[in-house]
Amino acid sequence: MARVELRNIVKAFGATQVLRNVSLDVDDGEFMTLIGASGCGKSTLLRIVAGLEAQGSGSVRIGERMVDHLRPRQRRIAMVFQSYALYPHMTVRENIATPLMIDRTLLAERLPLVGRLSPRRRRIAGEIDQAVRGVAELLQIEPLLDRRPGQLSGGQRQRAALGRAMVREPQVFLMDEPLSNLDASLRVHMRRELADLHRRLGATFIYVTHDQVEAMTMSGRVALMEAGEILQVGTPNEVYHRPANTRVAAFLGSPRINLLEAAVEGAGTLRLGGTALAHAAEAAGQGSVTLGIRPESIALTGDDPAGQGGLSLLVDDLEDLGHEIILHARLETEGAPAALTARLPAAAVAAARAAGRFGNRIRVEVDPASLLIFDRDGLRIPATVAPAAPAAAHPQAAAG
């Protein structure tokens, strides 16, 4: 009952088109993450769902109900803001109580002095206090209830903001980069806490971030946005391993995926520089394709005699991250040397060094199964990539 359906949402601010025909279905109880570069329209989309911004055209349904004409409070949603947006002059308790207070009392009862005269208000206040306590218990912020936001740490503020969002038991939680103001270690912690909360509440979450790690680790599905459009929707695994196009592939993953021009020969032999790298029947007839090689799909060629299979690289730079080493190298191709980044386990490099196989020029191999193939328009060609016939590789490699 708390599905969220966006249909053909269009939004412009003045002359700038911010959302171009965005449609998205979020299932009941799903954790959907909107991810995209800064300024791509994520917040705007979220605010349209919340009713804080009116769409230019298109419609929003929340739990089978058209909500276009409803005010935020009537949409049964809650929102958590990047800045937490706690009321600085209220205690945490008052902050959390506010949505309920507004929901349950009449305007007159909320007026500064007059309000106290209402007999109903006392009863309601009791109920509300119950609810606030319940939420505080869940979030383990009971000891903080009488502090002001200014007296809280980032993580505590975060939890208070969550409490305010939860207390009305909304069908849908909207979160706009709720973790981006926290420091790294707290972020890791809150990441898991949020995922946990989602599991416990069973509500629908729509979560905005531009942090890949958050998107990858927390969400059921990810919607990747760019310039007001959704490029792909899918599970984190899908978008990472089966990106719809080069833009998605390039956005996810750090270091960035290597995108290299490759020639397609015959029945689908993919040739990079001079080397036949793999074989993909589906690419046959394309002339040339873009190969996507994740840095982690590149491995040092093992103990087989040097000169055997794989690619020969000129090492530019090594960045030692301790547990792994980022290798910046150039592919010795025929034309201009193409840059290539690889992510190598520190242990593997150490081993290779020890074996004298790690000099200025090294040989690496690419796991064909993880190769991504994109056509001229950047769209991925779903392909089962097999290793190239070893025979085919040899003569060319010598030329490289």
């Binding site: 004409h69 005010r71 935020p72």
Partner: protein, 298 residues
């Protein structure tokens, strides 16, 4: 018109209750109501100014017509103005106003900017004391020290001099307060960079801080110039000669109580006296409002 750029309690909530069309109508209605209220307030605020302008071009016999004829029937754009110039040395008054205001402003800036900078950015033990004095000073209007100042000026022969007109205002605690607020938000790192680059503190102020403080300077200048251009109290006390009279004194002299006042030229004079400030404000308003907003004045 669906949303507003700035938050405000009256910002139109984008989505109202009934339907999209209903919401549009409700928003439009609210928009009209807000503008109506604002325009009503504008009548109160601008009415006298407009009346001054129209009266300044009315012939004498139309002025003392009972009633609410705002517009002149036979406008005579020149007569009252030339009368005004003829009967008092208005140009002289305005010149005095310019000299006094400029003198005051320059010295105020020279004294308050370094002090404000010191209070905002330099660590020294005396800072809290100086700042406490500033806060105290904020609550002491010139009328309090006026008597001793007058006596001292009489002793020093400063009555009826430009210096006498300006001296009590050479220090503006308000300026110190305002600039301090502004400078506090100036990044420390830039100042440190300047120190590493070898600038002396003095150079930091005029090479780095002042060029970034234009909005605050503009805002303060508007406050200062309007205050001193319009001040009546002090000039009334220290000036008794036309040659030194400031604009408000000049206007006050139009009061011709014995035989009733010559309203047409009085309004012409009032217009002329107010005009430089209004024009200056219109020119500086963008900076001024920006300066006020950036300073926050909190």
């Amino acid at each position: 018109m669906s949303t507003t750029a700035e938050p405000s309690p009256l910002a139109l909530t984008p989505v109202a209750t009934l339907s999209v069309a209903g919401a549009r109508i409700a928003n439009a209605a609210r928009l009209v109501a807000v503008h109506a209220l604002l325009i009503l307030a504008l009548v109160f605020v601008l009415g006298p100014i407009i009346w001054m302008l129209t009266t300044s071009v009315k012939p004498a016999n139309e002025i003392f017509q009972a009633g609410i004829d705002f517009m002149p029937r036979n406008p005579q754009p020149i007569t009252n103005y030339s009368d005004a110039f003829a009967s008092v040395p208005l140009l002289q008054f305005m010149m005095n106003g310019v000299i006094v205001c400029a003198g005051i402003l320059v010295v105020q800036l020279l004294t308050s900017i370094p002090c404000a900078y010191a209070l905002a950015k330099i660590r020294f033990r005396g800072a809290p004391v100086v700042f406490a004095l500033v806060l105290l000073g904020l609550c002491i209007p010139i009328q309090v020290p006026a008597l001793p100042l007058y006596l001292a000026f009489a002793q020093l022969g400063l009555l009826n001099t430009y210096l006498g007109l300006m001296l009590p205002f050479f220090l503006s605690v308000f300026a110190i307060f305002l600039f301090r607020q502004f400078f506090r938000s100036f990044p420390d790192e830039i100042i440190q960079a300047a120190r590493v680059d070898g600038m002396s503190e003095f150079e930091i102020v005029w090479r780095v801080v002042v060029p970034s403080a234009w909005p605050a300077i503009a805002a303060f200048s508007v406050f200062s110039v309007t205050a001193h251009w319009n001040d009546l109290y002090w000039p009334l006390i220290v000036v008794s000669k036309d040659a030194l009279a400031t604009p408000p004194l000049g206007v006050a002299f139009f009061f011709d109580a014995e035989t009733g006042s010559d309203f047409g030229s009085m309004m012409a004079a009032a217009t002329l006296v107010s005009a430089p400030l209004i024009i200056a404000f219109l020119v500086a308003q963008r900076q001024f409002i920006q300066g006020i907003t950036m300073t926050g004045l909190k």
